[in-house]
Structures are given as C-alpha cells and as structure tokens.
Symmetry: C2
DNA sequence: GAATAAATTTAGAATGATTCTAAAAAATTT
DNA sequence: AAATTTTTTAGAATCATTCTAAATTTATTC
C-alpha cells in the first residue's frame, strides 16, 4: 500500500457520488500534487483486484468507482445521465446457482428517467 | 429503414453471439461493401432508440449488441473474457416499484470464471 | 415528374478514455 | 549498503467512438 494507492482509495471512500478516473485523478492531486494519471489507473486496477473498490461500467465512455460492498443496483437516468444507487436484495446465492459455480461479483443496471427529469418533462413536454 | 439500417439489424439478428460495432461493421460489409463505419454507429444508436436491439456494456472497451428481448442476464468470464447469456426471472415490475417510476430497461451483469476456465485452472493451478 | 427540402451516408479527421513504454524513484531483500 | 523488485512518472500510442462537411438518397411540394 503505497502513498499513491492510499490517496486513490481515500478519494473513493470519502466520495458522496461515483467518480470517474479523471475525477479521482483531480482529487488525488490535492493530496499528492505530483501523482500521475497512469498511477491512478494502475491503482484503480489493483484496488479492484484486491476487492477494495468496485468498478461501475455505465452508459458513459468512462467507468466510475464505488467503495461500497453493500449489495445495491445503479439507476442510470437516460436524460441527465445522473447515477444513483438503489437497494436490491442480495442475489449472490441465487446467481451462483444459476451460473453453475461461484460468482465473483454482480451489477444490476437500470436505465430510466429520474424523478427530476420526469417532472421537468411534464412542465415542458 | 434504409438498406444500411436493415443490413446492420440483419447482422445482429442472425448472430449466434454478441458482436461489437467493429464486428458488425465487418459483417455488414459482406452485404453492402460500401457501408461506412460511421453509418454502422449511427444505425446502432437508432436501432437502440427504436428498441430493436439492446446494448450490452461489458468489461471490454467496446460495447456489444443483442437482438433478444427475452429477459436474461450476462455472464462475463474474468479469465477468457467470454460472454454468455443466462436466464433470469423478469424483474421489470419489482424494479419499477424500487425505482419509483417506470423503468426503461435493465441489465444484470455477473463476473465469474466460466466452466472452461475453471477446469483449465484445476489442471494447472 | 421536376424542384426543393430533409434525412442519411460517406471518408476521414478529431476526441477522449485508457494503456503502454522506458527511465527514474522508492521499497524490499540479501 | 548493494542488488533486486516494484512502483511511479510523463508522455506517446492505441483504439472505440463521435464529429464534420460534402455527397447521396429519400421524402415533400408544386
């Protein structure tokens, strides 16, 4: 656990939303001003392998990262492209049975129109 | 529905696996040799909007496409990077309730080690 | 059915996220 | 402390996707 890896992890842990690699890089620079983008990517991969963070592959070009391991799904708004979390039951057991062997992780992605955009739509349809 | 859009849709519908945009482009050229890559991308987006195909955002950099609308999840092997389908119950109703409004589509992604890779692992661990 | 307008296609340039590379720095082992 | 391994760094390279502007096709109007 180098200082750089700790900084990347700290940024993700203290985030109130899901950051992209670029956003993590910007914030890690506030802790270690000389940190390089490549190091952020290296450590995101390492931390994912060590299961300290999870990668969210969304609708956008860039992935986002999450440090929560409480089972939850992700809601992707198709209008404002916002992402929010939502509770889901723990499927792990059922999925392992369906997959015919132990699973690694799972992600439930839902595309929808978020309450904010839905309201805005009603005002000017 | 132009000839180009029909060709793209035909390639996806007759596929036995999930192709990337590049793979679709290669196969569409067998039908319309002058088709351009940009046209394939245009039509993939249009077909997705029209709900004739679904986009699968996986572990790789490039998205893949599916023409099946039978509810199913995708299993991503973390070793060989293969993708396979698996049956899941239709969550739509439950998800709409959880999301607090109608949902657009959903995708259940599972990362695991596929049976082939698991066996190969046991032989030389 | 020709004239006009709108939409689509094309080839290639541009963009942008991520990966690669090779040298320097840091950490670890002997 | 010398030697080895791992990590970091800056910047170049890659690769999927989007953008652009001109050409073509399709639809609409007279």
């Amino acid at each position: 656990m180098t200082r750089q890896r700790a900084a990347v992890l700290e940024v993700i842990r203290s985030a109130k939303c899901h950051y992209t690699a670029e956003e993590i890089f910007e914030r890690a620079k506030e802790i270690l001003p000389n940190i390089s983008r490549a190091t952020v990517y290296n450590n995101l991969h390492a931390l994912e392998r060590e299961r300290l963070i999870r990668r969210i592959t969304g609708e956008e070009a860039s992935d986002r990262y999450d440090s929560s391991f409480i089972p939850h799904g992700h809601l992707f708004c198709t209008e404002c492209h916002g992402i929010s979390d939502f509770e889901v039951p723990d499927f792990r057991e059922a999925l392992s049975r369906a997959a015919g062997g132990e699973i690694d992780s799972y992600e439930l992605k839902v595309r929808y129109v978020c309450p904010g955009c839905r309201m805005a739509r009603q005002s000017n349809p």
